[in-house]
């Protein structure tokens, strides 16, 4: 039955003569493309801050962990869920957690999907993840999801902390997405572009952060 729906729809669409496709205008290159590294950091920080995101710089792993320690203290973090991408693994968060009284878990630690969901929805005070790219254009994190980068870790907890290598900071979205959908490699099933916390203004146009996703986003730029 669906077969005939498909055929019928396509046949109708093909019945009429095709229209000409207009010529596309050439756009001048985006201003962001001419920024140097510090310029990109500046722009990324400005854009994300305007969405109430917080951006930290860390020269190295130790500084990044110092930031995390401070955040854990001020936010009173007791349990966190993390991804297991290379950046996060390089921080050895389980060890950091032991030192600072924070229980650190990952999706693989749970016996099944339901247990993992329970933990990430109800127990985690924060989700700590890496990101594949940071885009200066709008202060955006671009992430290809996988078993090392579960979807809910940056979505369900009320606080999302992302650690991104500064070498992954790019000017515009195209650079990030062409890397995923460009030339071979494992094409991700799910890619997210995250710009600041979850929000709505649906009730009386009053801004409210943390509608369904995190209320706050913090980004540590590493390197």
């Amino acid at each position: 039955m669906e077969e005939s729906a498909r055929e019928e729809i396509l046949a109708r669409l093909r019945k009429v003569p095709k229209e000409e496709t207009p010529v596309r205008p050439v756009l001048p290159p985006a201003r962001e493309l001419s920024l140097d590294k510090e310029g990109l950091v500046s722009l990324f920080t400005e854009k994300l801050s305007r969405e109430t995101g917080v951006v930290y710089r860390a020269a190295d792993r130790d500084e990044a962990l110092d930031h995390l320690t401070e955040i854990a203290r001020t936010e009173n973090l007791k349990r966190v869920m993390t991804s297991t991408d290379d950046t996060i693994l390089s921080l050895d968060l389980p060890a950091w957690g032991d030192r600072n009284g924070v229980a650190v878990s990952t999706a693989a630690d749970y016996v099944d999907r339901e247990e993992y969901k329970r933990a990430v929805f109800d127990e985690a005070d924060a989700g700590i993840t890496g990101a594949d790219f940071a885009v200066a254009e709008t202060g955006t994190l671009v992430t290809a999801h996988s078993e090392r980068q579960p979807r809910l870790v940056s979505l369900a907890p009320i606080l999302h902390i992302a650690v991104v290598g500064i070498d992954r900071l790019v000017p515009v979205y195209e650079e990030a997405l062409n890397a995923f959908y460009g030339y071979g490699g494992r094409i991700p099933a799910h890619v997210t572009l995250i710009t600041g916390p979850s929000m709505t203004a649906d009730i009386r146009a009053t801004s409210f952060k943390g509608m369904h996703g995190p209320r706050r986003v913090m980004v540590i730029l590493l390197g």
């Binding site: 207009p22 099933a189 009730i203």
Partner: protein, 481 residues
Amino acid sequence: MKVNTRNFVQTAEREMQNQYARAFLALMPPVIAALRVQVMGSFPDPEAAQELGRAIRAEAVARMPDLLEEFERNAVAAGARVLWARDASEANELVLSIARERNVTEVTKGKSMISEETGLNEAFKNNGIEPFETDLGEFIAQQLERPPFHIVGPAINVPVEEICDLFMKKAGMEKATTDPVELGYAARLFLRDKFRRVRMGITGVNVAVAETGAIVNVENEGNIRFNKSSPLTQVSLMSIEKVVPTMNDALHLVRLLCRNCTGQGISAYVSIDRGPKMKEEFDGPEELFIIIVDNGRSRIYEDVKMRQVLRCIRCGACLNLCPIYSKIGGYPYGWAYSGPMGQVLNPALLGVDDTSDLFNACTLCGTCREICPAGVDHPELFLYYRELEAEGKKMSSGRWEARFFKLWGTAAAHTGLWRFFYRLVRPVVARYGKEGKIKAMPGPFEGWFKTRDLPVPARRTFRDRWRKSMSEKNLSRGGME
């Protein structure tokens, strides 16, 4: 969604008296319009960026069947199940059968205008399945059983007291409050529980990318991401015109959509799905169904003059600048789409007979056409709908109007007749005048006179005066006026 397009005048009159609605309409649209100008300025050449959007959408519509096949091929290669539905009942039945096969009794829904068109929520309820809208504005509008007030803020005009009552009755809120933030938090708790437990999630699609077989969604709340992460089965509904050629095209349209819709550089979340979750992923849907819905669009496509309607990307920029929408809000348009967007879409999808006021209650000011990033020429479509309506009318009630204009056309082509009719009509109208002004006159023009005067039509028209001065000129041999 229930069609209520025949009550335009009544509803508009009522809404214009509604102080809440008027307060928002005075504030929100101009603010978004101003933000839009600002954020479009981040393009080095905003006009070229706009033109590119128009070119992409024109190409997408021109190549639609080929692009749909390419999209399907690539989506299937990525593991998605692609289904096609000709109309509302086929679309609803496909979703229902997926739900039934999996013994689903509750579903969570992200915003999907095509599902509003098909009445999917109604179909669920009639089949013992409870749908939960998870977009806050849609959640409120759904529970109150109202059409959207504005495409971005469907319930933005609803007073907080009403929302409080609603949440206490239907969203498990225990303590009364009129604080928008507390209300938002109550909704978060209620819906979070649904995200956690519900087995099937439903989303719409903002852009479908032919080149990769990926679907793209744009949102600020995170409810769509939850629908794509927590349930085991994801069903995404897209109407046929959502498809575009490439990923870069999709990115450009996402930029334009966000900037035109809410004045944001980009929304808080953009999610791109290519197939269901990868085998090793801990979350995400094990099955992804993409349902391609026609619901009248291939018929629209066949009409070469109407086809451009399909370029619309639902950004809502036209609403924010429409001088008429800004007086009456979304309700009078009576269906899923309001403002100029509704004026072009509703008649195309529902027929011109039931939507007469939508394309007639317009001054053709052209602001919508100017701002549209997808290249829809709204005024041109309104004129076309009026033409279709007039043709239909010739058969019935509008006979007198058709006869009037036939006479009018003949007169306009024959100077003598034109002048003659003026001579005939002028004294009849002039009777209502006093001291050069008409303050009241019965008949079709009656409405004008409630707050306005009209000059009495001239006894000496411009032509008369010209002839007189010309003949005087001749008499006095070249005297200037």
